[in-house]
């Protein structure tokens, strides 16, 4: 049997973004509206 000398790297299951970041993104998405004017597109943040 081959011996495995290396340690398994610690699993980090906690790798996910903070809830605040997610909620910021969702709010940002709701607030962002794109206004079409002729062939131009304007972004507007309506907070």
């Amino acid at each position: 049997m081959a011996k495995i000398y290396s340690n398994a790297s610690p699993k980090n299951d906690n790798l996910k973004p903070k809830d605040e970041t997610i909620s910021f993104l969702l709010n940002y998405s709701k607030a962002l509206s794109v206004i079409n004017y002729n062939k131009l597109k304007f972004e507007a943040l309506l907070n």
């Binding site: 996910k16 973004p17 962002l32 794109v34």
Partner: protein
Amino acid sequence: MKKELIQDAELVSSYIKGDEKALSILIQRHKQKIYSFIYSKVYDRDITEDIFQDTFIKVIKTLKLGKYNEEGKFLPWVMRIAHNLVIDHFRKNSRMPKFSNTGEFSIFSVLSDSSLNAEKSLIKDQVESDVRRIIEELPEDQKQVLVMRMYQDMSFKEISERTGVSINTALGRMRYALINMRKVIDQNNIVLTN
């Protein structure tokens, strides 16, 4: 797997039509993959958080502006945006090195060691000897001008006086010397960077 891809595409199209909830599902579904991907490159929680946020801001803007046209490939597309932002982050950081604050003042965070390490100095020597060999290949008149200008740091006026040709001729020889060197470098696939 295929089912999820179709679902992603559906969610994207309903988000474009104005369904905000679809975005929430997309973020929930892929947040872990994208977050770990960014973390695996930058190894810093706060920076990962920032890049994750910027990635989705870009995603949201692109989708709302109607510029998204890669249906069915949502995750790879988001990953690519994240990847580009990670590269931007490293570029920005190499221009403005960050001082790590460990609580105690360290003089080495302000003073940097500008001397090259063993590997870099080997590469530098190699590059310099390659350049010299390429210069040896040049026609004599071009080599003369290039050596005087680059190695002896003479002005073109001095070069023209020394070689007995006009300044314009000296400039022209320098130009052809560089063109010829580039040609040799290209033809032989010589890498002159470290």
